[in-house]
C-alpha cells in the first residue's frame, strides 16, 4: 500500500511539475493544482496510512494522526485561495497583454520603450 501511495504521489508530482514548466497560464494553473494535490496527499500521509481510523473520538478503536489532517485542511483552503488568485491573475494577464503567455507579449516591451524614449527627448 505504501509503495502504491508513494508512486501515486510521485506521478502527481511529475505531472504537476511538467505542467508548471509550460508557457501558458492555464497549464501552469492546472500544474499548480496537481502539485498541490500531491502535496496535500503527502502532508496527509505524514501521519501514516490507516484504514478506518477516522479521528472521531468513540467511532473506532484506534485513531489515525489527526494533526496532519488538520494541516492538510488548512493547506487545502490556502491552496484554494491561491489558485483562485492566480487564475484571476492570469485573466488579468490575458486582458492586459491580449495573450495568455506567462511572460505576456514577448518583445513588445522594447518597442514601446523606444517610442516613449523618442517622445521624451522630443527630438
Amino acid at each position: 500500500m505504501e509503495l502504491l501511495f508513494a508512486l501515486t504521489i510521485g506521478v502527481l508530482t511529475s505531472s504537476g511539475v511538467y505542467l508548471l514548466l509550460r508557457a501558458r497560464t492555464f497549464p501552469v494553473v492546472v500544474g499548480l493544482t496537481l502539485l498541490s494535490y500531491a502535496v496535500n496527499l503527502f502532508l496527509f500521509s505524514t501521519g501514516r496510512l490507516a484504514t478506518g481510523g477516522q479521528p472521531i473520538i468513540g467511532s473506532t478503536a484506534s485513531y489515525s494522526d489527526p494533526l496532519p489532517q488538520a494541516l492538510v485542511l488548512t493547506a487545502i483552503v490556502i491552496g484554494f485561495a491561491m489558485t483562485a488568485f492566480v487564475v484571476v491573475l492570469s485573466l488579468r494577464n490575458l486582458a492586459d497583454n491580449d495573450d495568455d503567455h506567462v511572460d505576456g507579449h514577448q518583445g513588445e516591451d522594447n518597442e514601446t520603450q523606444l517610442t516613449r524614449e523618442k517622445e521624451v527627448t522630443g527630438k
Partner: protein, 505 residues
C-alpha cells in the same frame, strides 16, 4: 502571559476588518483610521521592544495550550527588532500611500494592514506550520498589493512572483511534512529538542526536508538563482508597496536566522549548520548579481530593486558564516538597508512624478521642479545604500567586514563586498548624475506638486539612515545582545516548560 504579544497581530487584523467594512466610506475617513492603526501598531511594537530588552523569552500560548501542542508566539530580541523595523517602515509607507497612491482600489488599506499582520505573525510565531500560514497571509496580501493600481506593466512580473511563490509554498509544505514525519512535532523549540536525537535513515529525510526549507526561505529572501522574480516585480509595483516589500525579502532572512540557528544550530548533532556551506557562496554570487543588475538598470526603481538583492547577498553571507559577531552585524545592516531601500523607492517615485513621460528612467529629461530636495534625498539614500560614510550603510558594512575571521571566507567576503560597493557607487553616481543633473531645455507641462505626506515619508525613511548612525551605539548593543541570544537557544527551549494560565481549564 502577556497579551501585548498579540497586539502586532490583532491590531492590523482588526484594522483590516474595519477597512473591509468601510469599503464605501469617504476616503479621508478610511485614511485616518488606517494610519491610526499603523501608529497603534508602532506603539505596540515599541512596547514589545522594551519587553524583549531584558533578554528573556516571552511566550504566548494561543488557546492556553501548552507548547508544543498549541501554537505559541515567542517574543525575543530578534522578533522585537523585526517587528519594530516593520512597523516603522509600514508607518512611513502608509503615510506615503495616503498621499494618493491608495486611490483606485478600495481594498488597499485592508490589504496593506493584512500584509502587516502576516509579517508580524511570521516574526512572532514559534511554530513551523504557523510560519507557513503567516507566509501565506503575507504573500497573498502582497500579491494583492503588487497588483494594486492601474497599468498593465505589473501583470507579468506579478504573475511570475505569484507562480514562483506558489511553487515555493508547495515546497514549504513538503518540507514541513518531511520534518513532521520524523519528529512528530511542529513547534520549533520542540523540533530543536528532537532533531539532535534523530538516528538512521530518518536523518536523510530531515536533512532533505531542511534543505528544501532552505530553498523556500531562499526564494523568499531572493537568493540566487531564485531572485529573478524580484527586480521587475518590485520595480513595477506602486512606490509605497515596493517600499513595504523591502521587508519581504527580510522575512526569508529572518526565517533562515530563526530556523537554522534554533533548529539546525550548533547543537543539532549531525544536522548542525545544515545548508550553510551552500548559503555562503550563493550569497556572494547574489551580491555580485545584484551589483551587475544595478549597473545595468535603466530606471531608478529597477536600480533600487537590484539593491534589494545586493542587500540580500550582503546579509546572508555573514549569516552563513555563522559567527555571533557576523549575525549581529547582519542585523544592523538589515535595519539600515531595509529603511534605506524603502526610502529610495519612494524617492524614485517622487522623481518619476516630476519627470513626465520620462518617469524614473535613467535618461535625459526636463528639469524637475523640486530638484534640489529630491536630489538631496537621493544622495542620502544612495550613500547609505552604497555603504559610504557617514551614513548607516557604511557602519553596517564595517560591522560585517569586521565580523569575519581571517581565512579564505574573509578574503572572498571582503573582496566581493568592497568591489561590489565600488560598482554600486558607480551605478548610483551614474544614475544620479543623469537623472538629476543632465537636463534638457523645456519643462513638463503639469508637474505633479510635491505633497506634504509623501515628502515627509520619503524624507523620514531616508533620514533614518542618519538616525541609525546617531544611535549606532545602542543599536549595535541591541544587535549584539540579539545575536548572543540567538546563539544561546537554551532559553528558547525553556518555553516548552512555561506554564499555561491554569490547568483546570
Amino acid at each position: 502571559m502577556n497579551h501585548w504579544l498579540t497586539a502586532p497581530i490583532l491590531i492590523p487584523l482588526l484594522g483590516g476588518i474595519l477597512q473591509v467594512f468601510m469599503g464605501y466610506a469617504p476616503i479621508s475617513l478610511r485614511r485616518t483610521i488606517a494610519i491610526a492603526t499603523t501608529v497603534l501598531l508602532l506603539v505596540s511594537t515599541i512596547v514589545l521592544l522594551v519587553l524583549a530588552s531584558d533578554d528573556g523569552y516571552r511566550l504566548y500560548a494561543f488557546g492556553n495550550w501548552q507548547p508544543p501542542f498549541g501554537i505559541v508566539l515567542v517574543l525575543d530580541r530578534l522578533a522585537a527588532l523585526m517587528l519594530i523595523l516593520t512597523a516603522i517602515l509600514a508607518l512611513f509607507c502608509h503615510l506615503f500611500a495616503i498621499g494618493g497612491a491608495d486611490e483606485g482600489n478600495r481594498q488597499f488599506h485592508a490589504l496593506f494592514l493584512f500584509q502587516l499582520m502576516g509579517l508580524n505573525i511570521a516574526f512572532l510565531t514559534g511554530d513551523l506550520f504557523n510560519l507557513f500560514v503567516a507566509f501565506e497571509v503575507l504573500l497573498i496580501a502582497s500579491y494583492g498589493l503588487l497588483m494594486h493600481g492601474g497599468g498593465t506593466a505589473r501583470t507579468v512580473p506579478g504573475l511570475h512572483y505569484v507562480v514562483l511563490n506558489l511553487i515555493g509554498s508547495a515546497v514549504f509544505l513538503i518540507s514541513v511534512g518531511m520534518i513532521y514525519s520524523v519528529t512528530g512535532t511542529l513547534n520549533m523549540a520542540d523540533l530543536a529538542v528532537k532533531i539532535p536525537r534523530i538516528q538512521g535513515e530518518s536523518l536523510n529525510l530531515v536533512k532533505a526536508g531542511g534543505m528544501m526549507l532552505l530553498v523556500v526561505f531562499a526564494l523568499k529572501a531572493a537568493l540566487i538563482p531564485l531572485c529573478f522574480w524580484l527586480p521587475k516585480a518590485y520595480a513595477k509595483a506602486t512606490a509605497p508597496v515596493a517600499a513595504l516589500f523591502a521587508v519581504m525579502t527580510k522575512v526569508g532572512i529572518y526565517a533562515i536566522l530563526r530556523v537554522y540557528l534554533l533548529v539546525f544550530g550548533d547543537d543539532a548533532g549531525e544536522l548542525a549548520n545544515l545548508g550553510m556551506d551552500w548559503l555562503f557562496p550563493l550569497a556572494l554570487i547574489t551580491l555580485t548579481m545584484g551589483v551587475i543588475g544595478a549597473l545595468g538598470a535603466d530606471n531608478l526603481k529597477t536600480l533600487v530593486a537590484w539593491q534589494v538583492i545586493i542587500s540580500v547577498g550582503t546579509l546572508l553571507a555573514p549569516i552563513a558564516l555563522g559567527s555571533e559577531a557576523g549575525i549581529s552585524a547582519a542585523l544592523f545592516y538589515l535595519l539600515s538597508t531595509t529603511w534605506t531601500v524603502a526610502g529610495l523607492f519612494l524617492v524614485a517615485e517622487l522623481v518619476a512624478n516630476q519627470r513626465g513621460t520620462a518617469g524614473d528612467r535613467i535618461i535625459t529629461a526636463p528639469k524637475m521642479r523640486n530638484r534640489t530636495f529630491l536630489s538631496v534625498l537621493f544622495l542620502i539614500g544612495a550613500v547609505a545604500a552604497a555603504g559610504l560614510p557617514p551614513l548607516s550603510g557604511f557602519f553596517a558594512k564595517l560591522l560585517i567586514l569586521k565580523s569575519t575571521t581571517p581565512g579564505p571566507e574573509m578574503a572572498w567576503l571582503w573582496s566581493v563586498i568592497l568591489i561590489g560597493s565600488f560598482f554600486t557607487v558607480i551605478a548610483y553616481s551614474r544614475a544620479g548624475s543623469i537623472v538629476f543633473w543632465r537636463t534638457v531645455e523645456g519643462h513638463i507641462e503639469k508637474p505633479e506638486p510635491l505633497g506634504g505626506n509623501v515628502s515627509v515619508a520619503a524624507g523620514a525613511l531616508v533620514a533614518l539612515s542618519v538616525i541609525i548612525v546617531a544611535l549606532a551605539g545602542p543599536i549595535s548593543d541591541y544587535t549584539d545582545a540579539t545575536a548572543a541570544q540567538l546563539f544561546n537557544p537554551d532559553g528558547y527551549l525553556q518555553i516548552l516548560e512555561a506554564p499555561v494560565v491554569s490547568e483546570d481549564k
